[in-house]
Symmetry: C2
Subunit: 312 residues, 2 copies
Amino acid sequence: MKTKTEKEILLVALGGNALIRKGQVGTIEEQFQNLKMSIRQIARLSEEYKIIITHGNGPQVGNLLLQQESCNAVPKLPLEILVAQTQGQIGYMIESTLDSELRKMGVISQKSLVNLITYVVVDENDPAFQNPSKPVGPFYTEAKAATLPYPTRKTEKGYRRVVASPQPVTIIEKHEIVKLIEMDFIVICCGGGGIPVIKKGRTFTGVNAVIDKDLASAKLAEEVGVDILLIASDVDGAILRYGEPDQELLRIVTLDEITRYLAEGHFSPGSMGPKIEAAIQFIQGNGKRALITSIETIEESIAGKAGTEIVK
Amino acid sequence: MKTKTEKEILLVALGGNALIRKGQVGTIEEQFQNLKMSIRQIARLSEEYKIIITHGNGPQVGNLLLQQESCNAVPKLPLEILVAQTQGQIGYMIESTLDSELRKMGVISQKSLVNLITYVVVDENDPAFQNPSKPVGPFYTEAKAATLPYPTRKTEKGYRRVVASPQPVTIIEKHEIVKLIEMDFIVICCGGGGIPVIKKGRTFTGVNAVIDKDLASAKLAEEVGVDILLIASDVDGAILRYGEPDQELLRIVTLDEITRYLAEGHFSPGSMGPKIEAAIQFIQGNGKRALITSIETIEESIAGKAGTEIVK
């Protein structure tokens, strides 16, 4: 039980559109410009809440895959190393943007702010390894796909490599993150869902997989004792009958209701589905508030004026 | 003044050969295997000292440059973003290797260990920007070099892109690093000399440059109050008349002597030179011990049995 004077912990999970908007190629200028929208809100929220920021990395890791496939002159790196690279890249972009926004608010001297490289344990017996399903990287023709040394799957725009997306078991840096949050550090971590590793005896080994960043965020939230989990993306919230004339944005929804809607197939497995699952896991644990909203309405959602809130 | 019971702070700056040895192409397996040599020693030293680890990134950033030049399908990233990517990559490799070594020693539960993305302020009026001199990335023919949109310089193996290598002015995350060290965290930071930024008003902007990792380490050591700066690379220490039949490894050398040797041109500007400059700056400040040694003899050097020590 927290004392009245202690700040609540808010975890904001930023979707890919915080960095690259639909229709953009994703130049570095575009990415920095886009980031301001979400980061400015988080900077203001840091006056009232202890803050953890996690983020996606889909387009960035896809670009690294494409680049290394185009170049035979240097050794290719496994997927988990590319995830680590994107944690460096995006973490720096978020940290420096947040730093600038806090300076503009005149509060930087009171804030400590770190970006942690984070790795996340997965189970080598996770069934996801038998059924790689998460598309990553470039699109291929069917003929090219057949020549590739890894599994591919047909998607709307062509064939893509698929990798396993196992469940996060535990966040390696959880104790460090707890200590940093206690000291009121703003912590950026778990980028791209974390670098996936399996435990072999006393050592950890990276594996060829990607962890869903919303599920990793929910696991982190549970392990660190987060109060509010906010998942920000390019949609306004959880929507019933999405895309149909009578679609309906859920505003406040109970755990039972949302669990039923999920089972009824209202939420697409590759996008809203994991967000709903993450929110459900969080509220089933000790989470107080789970919010799903758009990048533009992070503050409004916390104020109860936008997005979807899942309640017990 | 530290109390007797308080541990001293040891900063180990790891050279590129901690990851990739001469003659290797630098596969990820090679890099992990090579890392054990230095990291195992640092793990043992962490029982006696508070530890900061910095590292180089030359071959890794070179590979990223080469890959992005080979691929026109995705937007190219500026150099400082590539440095951020290598901080993620190498930071993860060092952290997970150290984690494994500490677990083998049975001490992991007492250790907190983080890898911080670090950016470092440089002066936009630094003369280095007028005279880019640090070679980065792939080798080109003279004809190809003439077509490139950035300055190149002829080297032994061909033409290479050159970038500015300005002096580090301050490490942005210094306050955070001080707090983490006070809490006995092992901190990995300042990878590749840090992500170079200049201050524009209230914001920071990345610049096209690379900071020498030994000079950045000396600046960090000064700002954080490090006791011992150890620079580990592929040579045994500071050597007079290097490569000649009567070459001589310096074992203990005063500040006056080493300053004179440096002025006499004993140390090559691109490799041993910056290490000596970093050691001099550190001892001229409040540093207690500055050590230059090989990756293999980190512990021996601290014990006074290997390498070069610069004393007041």
